[in-house]
Symmetry: C2
Subunit: 115 residues, 2 copies
DNA sequence: GGGATCGTCAACCATCTGGTTGAATATGCT
DNA sequence: AGCATATTCAACCAGATGGTTGACGATCCC
């Protein structure tokens, strides 16, 4: 029942390769959310979002806890550690720059609106 | 002719999601390589490796320059910057730890041998 | 010129991915 | 009990992905 595998680089990178899933992770930065609420801003079906959440969960990037009929989704940023360390082995990237991060988030969201 | 698009998070993460491609990047850390030499340690066809290299190139993670009949592949670690910054927005991961990186490389290579 | 080497192209194939819809399950509310 | 809400399941579909093989165009070398 507990999330089985070691979240491999394969599954983490693959999970992060989809813009919908990255947007979900960004939403979860602010707070834990129910599946329905996660789905709300997207134009796709609830079932599709549910699948995305399953993928994020099996990559270890989120955990889901059912309380009552609501399943709460919680960001697990530590799951990115391995991938982050791996990438940083390729170059000393600029010291963690939150401004740049927010700019990226902004660009991503804007792209989805335009689509 | 020049690599067209802005290497998006989509293409970078997708490129990194494949273990063969990550192994290729790790090889290129040591030195630039010809396509044939890149393909050598793998058990798949040269054409398959050529495709992987194309994917890496269109994600901006490598560049390829043809000199004579040999096409040289060069690592372009800066293409990871965006992805790295994006991930670091989710948590302050341990200050660049090369030991951990080499451990990861080791694990990845070992996995391929066993397969 | 002619043969070997380097690399890509084209066609093909099996499998994965991301989405849909409709039905099913589980919980909460009155 | 009976209805509404929350979420998943199952079947299906189109298109992407990762691999193969065989032919092809370039380039180097004798």
């Amino acid at each position: 029942m507990a999330p089985r595998v070691k979240p491999s680089l394969d599954t983490v990178f693959a999970a992060l390769a989809d813009p919908t899933r990255r947007a979900i992770l960004a939403m979860l930065l602010e707070d834990d959310m129910a599946v329905t609420d996660v789905a709300d801003p997207f134009e796709m079906s609830l079932a599709a979002i549910s699948k995305h959440l399953t993928i994020l969960a099996s990559a270890g990037l989120i955990t889901q806890e059912k309380r009552g009929r609501v399943k709460w989704c919680k960001l697990e940023p530590d799951a990115m550690k391995g991938a982050s360390v791996w990438m940083q082995g390729f170059g000393q990237f600029e010291p963690v720059n939150l401004d740049a991060f927010e700019r990226f988030l902004g660009v991503e969201l804007r792209m989805e609106e335009e689509e």
